[in-house]
């Protein structure tokens, strides 16, 4: 995608999501908010990252070697938006909703886009591993919780979200496994460093 197109999309997506009918629709259900609205906002942030000029990225680079700082920002921001009380707040309070529309693109999507290419394979692996584990844990938790965790949503909505999270985790796991087992060599190990050495391999 061209930089300008990415920028355009990054600007349009949150506006579209903030349009009252769509916003109301997506926030009416816990599943839609967590699995559609929030991921789309994060994608908007990623697109924003793509649209930034390279000089900006280079200026940040010394502060974000190996994507470490970005990873920390993303981790904490995601943790904040995984709290049931944040989801509630976003529905009830316009201020919290505004915070959501700002922080998810800027503190999750953007740092993810700018840090991912800098991260080592191992760090990416840890991030994906933790993402998988979190999907399974939260899905499990939402399925078994006898109480509603969000005041704004019903128990059945919460359980449906639990099922979706488990399915999302399984799908992600299968995708990763497929890519690792049969994926193209370049995509699998490519970006994360210099090409492999066969040094030391006996003839």
């Amino acid at each position: 995608m061209k930089r300008a197109h990415a920028g355009l999309a990054a600007g349009l997506l949150p506006v579209l999501l903030a349009a009252p009918p769509l916003q109301r629709m997506l926030e009416a259900s816990m599943t839609a908010q967590m699995l559609v609205q929030i991921p789309l906002l994060a994608i908007a942030g990623m697109l924003l990252g793509k649209s930034l000029p390279e000089s900006a990225a280079n200026r940040i680079q010394p502060w974000n070697r190996g994507g470490a700082t970005g990873l920390i920002v993303v981790t904490f921001a995601s943790a904040c938006w995984m709290l049931p009380l944040s989801l509630d707040a976003a529905v009830v309070s316009p201020a919290a909703d505004l915070a959501k529309f700002l922080t998810i693109p800027l503190l999750i999507g953007l740092p993810l886009a700018s840090s991912w290419p800098r991260m080592s394979f191992v760090l990416r692996g840890v991030l994906l591993f933790e993402a998988l584990a979190t999907l399974f844990r939260m899905g499990w938790l939402y399925l078994i919780s006898p109480v509603r965790l969000c005041n704004s949503y019903g128990l059945s909505d919460q359980q449906r979200l639990g099922e979706w999270l488990l399915m999302a985790g399984t799908a992600l796991l299968l995708c990763i496994a497929w890519q690792l087992l049969w994926g193209s060599p370049k995509a699998a190990a490519g970006a994360a460093g210099p090409p492999g050495l066969r040094a030391g391999r006996p003839a």
């Binding site: 394979f121 191992v122 591993f129 087992l181 190990a189 492999g196 050495l197 030391g200 391999r201």
Partner: protein, 497 residues
């Protein structure tokens, strides 16, 4: 002698230091935990008096510690041989060690300071149903220790995954799956890469299961209003535990594939049955765990049937590919019977023979009268004590021995004989106890079981004596080899002699 010690396996002084760290820590911990085991057997035999509370603390530490330490020692074997074919990061290997150390400290603190005695399997809800003997915090620290160790192994596997993919493109090609159904097999494709890749895949999944269930147990410990499903937790714990223990064996067996051909002088490379065996094991090790749950009658019965049948089939690669292959390799080869070679053959015997009582117990009808009797520790001590540990010892004897024959004394051979005979007697007493319906994990035994316990105690003491000699000999030789090279930087450890 350079055939025994190829240049490609030379250790830099830094690598040697790290390997020494792994080897000497593992040997020391093995000895300590064996002493815990001896204490338990002697207490059951009423030769020493320890309170049940201390007994179960020792049992928890022995189980968790042995599983973890076998994993640690085996990962050193995988690292040592895999780094010949792909470029592994020493830093990640060190990180694994440091995280293991941290995790071990947490576990030991939970057990011996916090009093945690919930067994290494931490079956929900026992860790949080403490009956006032340990605190929720102690249980949490114990589980946190597991998590930290899991992260360490994850780092090591991710690094190895990247390294393997850089050379072979993807994991499927590293496993040789392109040759499963046809094509000309590249005979130089390393067996080490096949086994390592299998372990990387399988144990990452096992650790994922562990990471999910451990955090859920931690959440439940502090927010009890989220009640977990005891059966689901049990499934995940046994999945995680089974995969982890098996992967330790698969990592250790790499040493057999690498070293045995050098002592027999006959090549042992990949073949189509070999690749099929490892491909099948990759799948089977993930789905066989329900054989731990056969007495959970509410389990879906198809899963229990799967457990029984996969228990049978997972024996086939062991018998017909690895053990049979090893014997073929040894048969009329003009074998050089040095310590590593003897230990390797012992390990193959221990693994293959130890699987027999395991398979028998994997039959539901037998499990009904054998589950959680001494039969169970009988079979896993068989292939851990006489299978995996000899693999580890063989590797260390090989590396530490170097080109000198200093580790080939009559004392070493005598110790090996003692280890074999006492080891057989030790596991035999477990199996005999199982036959006599002696329950496992009883701090206090009926009088009729005492003969087994006492015979086992004597055997355990002899095993420990032999192990002590091995540990001293290996550690001494490793340290000597290290100090001999001080300042010489990249000089290979094993000079051709």
């Amino acid at each position: 002698m350079s055939a025994l010690y190829p240049q490609t396996e030379a250790l830099s002084s830094r690598e040697r230091a790290v390997l020494n760290l792994y080897a000497i820590s593992a040997l020391a911990v093995f000895l300590l935990l064996m002493l815990f085991g001896l204490a338990m057997r002697a207490a059951q035999g009423r030769w020493i008096n320890i309170s049940p509370q201390v007994f179960y603390q020792l049992m928890t530490a022995h189980g968790a510690g042995m599983v973890g330490t076998v994993g640690l020692a085996s990962s050193a074997i995988m690292w040592f041989f895999l780094r010949k074919y792909v470029r592994l990061s020493t830093a990640m290997f060190v990180a694994n060690y440091l995280l293991f150390l941290l995790g071990a400290v947490l576990i030991l603190a939970a057990v011996f300071i916090g009093g945690f005695g919930g067994a290494w399997t931490f079956l929900y809800p026992l860790p949080v149903h403490t009956m006032g003997i340990w605190s929720i915090n102690a249980a949490a620290v114990f589980m946190l220790g597991y998590l930290v160790i899991g992260v360490g192994f994850l780092l090591f596997y991710l690094d190895a995954m990247l390294a393997v993919m850089r050379v072979y493109g993807n994991l499927g090609r590293a496993l040789g799956w392109q040759w499963l159904f046809g094509g000309t097999i590249d005979k130089s494709h390393p067996t080490t890469v096949v086994a390592s890749t299998m372990v990387i895949i399988v144990n990452t999944l096992g650790i994922l299961g562990g990471a999910v269930v451990l955090v859920m147990c931690l959440v439940n410990a502090y927010v009890p209003r989220f009640p977990l499903d005891a059966l689901l937790v049990k499934n995940l714990i046994y999945f995680f535990g089974h995969v982890f223990v098996n992967c330790s064996i698969y990592m250790a067996v790499i040493g057999v594939y690498e070293l045995l051909p050098r002592y027999s002088g006959r090549p042992w490379g990949v073949s189509r049955p070999f690749l099929w065996a490892w491909a099948a094991s990759t799948v089977m090790v993930l789905i066989v765990y329900p054989h731990h749950l056969m007495m959970d009658y509410v389990m879906p019965h198809w899963m229990l049937v799967t457990g029984q049948i996969i228990s049978y089939t997972s024996g086939l690669p062991v018998f017909l590919v690895t053990a049979y292959g090893a014997l073929t390799n040894v048969y009329r080869s003009g074998m050089r019977w040095r310590m590593p070679a003897m230990l390797i053959v012992l390990s193959m015997f221990g693994w293959a023979a130890g699987i027999v009582p395991a398979i028998v117990d994997g039959t539901i009808a037998v499990n009904v009268v054998m589950h959680n009797t001494m039969w169970v520790p009988g079979h896993f001590h068989f292939y851990l004590l006489l299978g995996v540990l000899p693999m580890v010892l063989a590797f260390l004897y090989h590396v530490a021995g170097g080109s000198s024959r200093s580790l080939e004394t009559a004392g070493d051979r005598l110790s090996l004989a003692v280890y074999l005979i006492a080891g057989l007697a030790f596991v035999g007493m477990f199996l005999a106890g199982g036959r006599a319906s002696e329950p496992r994990r009883y701090a206090v035994h009926f009088a009729e079981w005492l003969p087994y316990d006492r015979a086992a105690s004597i055997a355990a003491a002899l095993v420990i004596a032999a192990m002590l000699l091995f540990a001293i000999r290996i550690s001494g030789a490793l340290l000597k080899a290290g100090s001999g090279e001080k300042g010489s930087g990249e000089v290979p450890a094993h000079l051709p002699g």
